[in-house]
Every structure is written in structure tokens, then in C-alpha cells.
Symmetry: C2
Subunit: 221 residues, 2 copies
């Protein structure tokens, strides 16, 4: 990075941090569990949130981040989830979300009776990890098809998260990956990470996810 | 993006474009086919380059971009490929490569007798597409496990590429994706895209890839 670029970046990150702290306090005060879900493109974030909307009694609202299209927001709305789409395409195709954009989106959502407000971040394992969105927990999802080495190659997303969802476990018999090595690599960059395994396709592990979510809702009441 | 951010970005992109044009001319003059390979994390770029090193008579050199680790460079070196690793982690964890970094890396590689110089870009379907590296062709790889909608959601990488590799086709029986819809979505954002399908795991389609690469080497002699 050039000096001028670093300076602008530092200014943006400081401003972002201020808004993030406000949001964290606001949702704590309102008793809403505020969650940031990050991953590579196509790891299965939307599919898991869809299942959450359909299968749980928790009230879920989602701020959906994408460069272009409202495809994911449409899928979530069909599952009965209150959703607001942010498209960064018009603003230069930004590769991440910032706290002020999330704040503006949250203002447009009806959050009455909502238990969980989830930000489905833009599919990108690098840039979103630089921006605190004021969420109570950062979760990072990694599908088994992405390979065992990703926590080592993209450590920031794993260092800044407290919860890791290993997804698409139904594909394990067909890829050269073991859960043990994947878990070991996650823990080598973040020893305290809470890891669960799911297959939204077969439903395996979705109960474990819903139990965790329920426990977080209770803890943030 | 903020005004100040846009200004810095424009300056960086203009400087990048100048270096990119120099590199494009340089490798054209040296008769080396210069290729940029982009994708999400874990789509299979390294595995395909490994197979290329092992199975073809073309001489391949690779500039390997990663935020952290030299894992991919080690895999390529084992396949007899001349490789130089760029890690952006020390420079703020940059999410893309720029032409000047590629130029500096190329200066450190022995390119005598090389047919193809490939940049294996950082695993990210957004940011790398903003930076022209001076390559003769941009290729974008997309694994079938990432879902059919990715060309629509991340269009810039597909608009700025001329060649698309659909990877991990051996997993098609296990995911809710059809090649026809994937191809249609790629062509909807870039009607001229040349698309091939491969499974580096089973070897299916690798010959088609090598034939294409050979034709590009001949065209850039």
C-alpha cells in the first residue's frame, strides 16, 4: 500500500470503528443479537439463513450485502425473513460492507420483535474482515470444497471471528479434505474458535446451529 | 466510496495501467504468453497449474499471489514449475495484486525458455478484477460448488476476462448446479467468453486446457 492510501484507509477505519461501537451498544440495548456472517463466494451463507428462517421460531432479519443483484435477498424473503439488500456495485463495486452502510440499512428495516439481526457480508474472505460492523459476534463460514489450507492463507477473517461454520460436509466423501485437519488449521490461527459442522443440503448440523443461535439470543436479551 | 478514497483509487489505477501496458509489450516482445488467473479462494487454480507443470511439455513460470503462506508456491515448485511467491500480508493484507508488484516479481524469476508466465492471483472474485496486470489474457475460474449465480453477483471478474474455466465438474452429481445454467450466466455477463470445463481431480478436461494453452503460446510467439 502507498503512504497516501494507508492514510485514507486509517481515516476510514477510525470513522468505521466509531459507528460500529454505536451500533453494538444500540442493539445490545434493544436486546437484539447482532451477527456478522462472512465467507468466500458460494460457501452457503444464504442457504443456511434460508433454513434458519424456515425451521426456527426465532425472528430473523438480514442485511444482505452483494456487489450486484438482489438474488440472495429474494431467496431470504421467500423464506419469510425481513431482508434489506445493499448493493455496492453502484458505489464502485466495493468488496466489503462498512458500519455506516449497515446502520443506514438497519434504519430501513422493521426490527420490532426481531431476535437476530444478521449481516450476510459480501462473498470475500479478505476485505470484510478489516471492517468491524458493530456486531456482537463475527462468524466465518468455510465450505469443505475450499480446501484445508484456507484458514492459514486468509487468517484475518478467522482471527477476527469467534464462531466458525464448516459447511457442505455432505461433500466430504468427494473431496481431499478431512474435518480434523480443517479444524486444526482453524484452531492454529484462532485457538478459541467455536467450530460447528453443517450440511444445509442434508440438514445435518442445522440443529446445532439453531441451538447456538438460540443461546446467543438468550445471552443478548 | 468517499471522495478522497475515490481520488486515491483513481491515481493508483492510472499508475497501475501505465506499468501494465509496459509489461504487456515486454512479454509480447519476448514471445512469452502472459496469463492472469483469478477466482474465489479454493476454486482449484493451484491444482490446475500443478497438473500443467506435471503433464505438459510447455515451460511454465508462476507468480503466486497470497495474503499469507507460501503453501501454493511450494506445491508448484514440487511440480517442477519456476515460481515466485508474493505475500501481501506484510503490506496490509492487500486483497489483489498490482502490476508493479508483478513486474518486480517477474524481474526475480529466470524466464529463459519460458513459454507461459502465469499470475495466480489472490483468491478473491472482486478486487483483482479492478487491476490490469498487463497480461495478454485474463482467465477466471469458477468451481461448480460455488453455485450458478456467481457470474451475476460478481460480474466484473467475468467482464474483464476472455477465458473461463469451470472447475470441479466431478462434483456436479452432488450439487444443485447444471453446467447449462452456469454457462448461460457466464455468457449473460460476457457473451464472448470462451468457456471450458475441467476436473483436475479426475483429469477430465485437462487436455482441453492444455490445448488452449498451447494455442495461446503459439499465438504469442
Amino acid at each position: 500500500m502507498e503512504k497516501q492510501e494507508v492514510k485514507v484507509m486509517q481515516k476510514i477505519l477510525r470513522a468505521n470503528e466509531r459507528v460500529a461501537e454505536e451500533l453494538r451498544d444500540e442493539f445490545a440495548a434493544r436486546g437484539i443479537f447482532f451477527l456478522n456472517l462472512m465467507s468466500s463466494p458460494g460457501s452457503g451463507k444464504t442457504t443456511l439463513l434460508q433454513a434458519t428462517g424456515l425451521e426456527s421460531d426465532m425472528q430473523l432479519a438480514v442485511i444482505e450485502g452483494d456487489v450486484e443483484t438482489a438474488l440472495d435477498a429474494e431467496r431470504l424473503a421467500e423464506a419469510g425473513i425481513r431482508v434489506l439488500q445493499i448493493n455496492t456495485g453502484p458505489f464502485g463495486g466495493d468488496c466489503h460492507l462498512e458500519a455506516s452502510w449497515v446502520r443506514d440499512a438497519a434504519r430501513q428495516l422493521d426490527l420490532d420483535g426481531i431476535d437476530v439481526l444478521c449481516v450476510e457480508n459480501i462473498g470475500n474472505l479478505i476485505c470484510p474482515a478489516c471492517f468491524d460492523l458493530g456486531t456482537h459476534i463475527n462468524a466465518v463460514m468455510l465450505s469443505v470444497t475450499e480446501g484445508e489450507d484456507k484458514p492459514l492463507k486468509y487468517p484475518l477473517a478467522f482471527r477476527t471471528s469467534q464462531f466458525c461454520i464448516i459447511s457442505k460436509t455432505d461433500l466430504l466423501p468427494h473431496v481431499d479434505v478431512t474435518i480434523e485437519r480443517l479444524r486444526a488449521n482453524v484452531h492454529s490461527v484462532n485457538p478459541d474458535m467455536h467450530i460447528i459442522e453443517i450440511s444445509a443440503r442434508t440438514g445435518e448440523g442445522v440443529d446445532t446451529w439453531l441451538d447456538w443461535l438460540r443461546s446467543q439470543v438468550a445471552a443478548h436479551r
